[in-house]
Amino acid sequence: MVKQNPKIEISDLKVRYDDVHAINGISFDILENEIFGIIGPAQSGKTTLLKVINRTIDFSPEARVTGRVKVDGKDVMRVGNVYALRRKIGMVSPLPVGLPLSIYDNVAFAPRMAGIRERSQLDELVEKCLHQAALWDEVKDRLHSLGTKLSGGQQQRLTIARALSHEPEILCLDEFSIAIDPVTTMKIEDVLKQLRSKMTVILVTNLVQQARRLADRTAFMMNGELVEVGSNDVIFSDNPANRKTYEYVNGIFG
């Protein structure tokens, strides 16, 4: 296997909300074109980590960030153009948030902001992204009706299509399958496998088996600490480096 370059480098990251310590000094790299799983019980700081990576942590004014997260070698807390950073990263949150726009406009939102105006180019992009999110067949006849009228699972796929629409280099999925049925989940998982060749995927999931199926490497976080990070062969084996990992992965606690 070719040696991959680190896409994201996290070193001694600490995040505190007033007096809640959400992340207590974690360090690891996420490599280019890998699917990187992050597992761990609720409240372990997974969502907070994603918010630091795309700098939406800025909208929690009480948050204090120390340590370093580098994307493409640049410290995210010090980047000059935070909008360019965010455009590099597609984010899918646990609960779908359809903007109050048509299905088409939801997906065309980011490309339009990036300055794409040509109708045919937008049409093509919208269709491609909806295909990738396994939603095209269900909505192709009503692209111009409101995105917020879709079912929960459809809306989640719409947000995935939207996250793909600005052709991000990094795709973050935060427990994306919470509101979707298993069949759709499997469809999207197939999509993610294909996306690996084009981008880095960070898959935060509460479903241990999902990380096992999809990820190349996985990190196990608990209470703001990194318990263990390593290739799936190790993490999901019978003897990972840390006993707690074994117990969590095998449902002994968590």
Binding site: L85, S93, L99, P100, F109, A110, M113, T159
Partner: protein, 296 residues
């Protein structure tokens, strides 16, 4: 399950009280309309020449031998002052609403909101007085005009009076946009302006429209301040520096002097009906637009 008899009675009682309140509101409005209508009806049906009423600019209700009741100049007066006021107040008010809701820190936001509520609490005579003195002088100096009591003055005063309504309702509308929309847009790399233009304004457009139309309603119905600020002379204006008189100001100024049930008295009530219809149409349009927007 085990709901007491009393509880059921209490509930239906409350329901009826609420229903009564609703119905009485409708009854009051009809009663007001009927009263105004009744006072003007005789003249309206027997003597009034509607063509003259609407299309003549001659308003001589107290002339000794040739009374004329043309309200065209008054309609133009109300229209011009209102339109000017809205041209100033809507952009200003909505701009201020966006500023307060999206660009202010929490401290500044609170102070500005208090300031705006303060503005809204100033009685209209006081605004009229400001028009008579401050703005009057200002217009005379800036435009070198002989008098400063005119459309411009009335428009500015009305704008100042409607801005607080537009700001506070507009700000509420923006505040009601769920944070998740903001987060989603921001996560896709939207800048502050893109967020406002592409997400917040479309999401809040009903409320913003309502804000603007309530501003219009305020402006059309305002009496005292425009009476003092517009110069109160019946006149077809050629520019914003001409004095005019509005429908409302005419009623306020003349009703006290018109002998009860005289022609003049009745015509003033017909003007009241006209105003009633104008506000009704404005509100209906607002409602229809808002509903149309919602359906889409």
């Amino acid at each position: 399950m085990g709901r007491g008899r009393l509880e059921i009675i209490a509930e239906s009682l409350i329901e009826w009280v609420i229903r009564l309140c609703g119905i009485s509101a409708i009854i009051f409005i009809f009663a007001i309309f009927l009263f105004v209508f009744k006072e003007g009806a005789e003249f309206l049906f027997n003597e009034l020449d509607l063509t003259e009423f609407f299309f003549s600019k001659e308003w001589y209700p107290t002339s000794g031998y040739n009374k004329r009741y043309g309200v065209l100049a008054l309609i133009v007066g109300t229209g011009s002052v209102t339109i000017l006021a809205m041209l100033i107040a809507v952009p200003f008010g909505l701009g201020a609403a966006v500023f307060i809701s999206e660009f202010c820190g929490p401290r500044l936001k609170e102070s500005l909101k208090i300031l705006i509520e303060l503005l809204a609490a100033i009685p209209s005579v006081v605004w009229g007085f400001i028009g008579l003195t401050v703005i009057n002088q200002l217009i005379i100096h800036v435009f070198n005009a002989p008098v400063g009591l005119n459309i411009l003055n009335g428009g500015i005063i009305l704008a100042l009076m409607s801005v607080p309504i537009i700001v506070s309702i507009g700000e509420d509308a923006l505040k009601a946009v769920p944070d998740s929309y903001r987060e989603a847009a921001v996560a896709m790399g939207a800048t502050r302006w893109q967020l406002i233009r592409r997400v917040l304004l479309p999401a809040a457009k009903n409320g913003l429209l309502a804000a603007a139309l309530l501003g219009v309603g305020r402006a059309v119905g305002e009496t005292m301040a425009v009476l003092m600020a517009t110069g109160h002379s019946v006149n077809m204006p050629n520019s914003v520096l001409d004095s005019v008189r509005t429908l409302t100001a005419t009623i306020a100024a003349e009703l006290g002097e018109a002998p009860v049930n005289s022609d003049h008295y009745q015509v003033l009530f017909i003007i009241g009906l006209l105003l009633f219809s104008i506000t009704f149409v404005v509100n209906m349009t607002a409602d229809l637009i808002v509903r149309g927007v919602r359906k889409k």
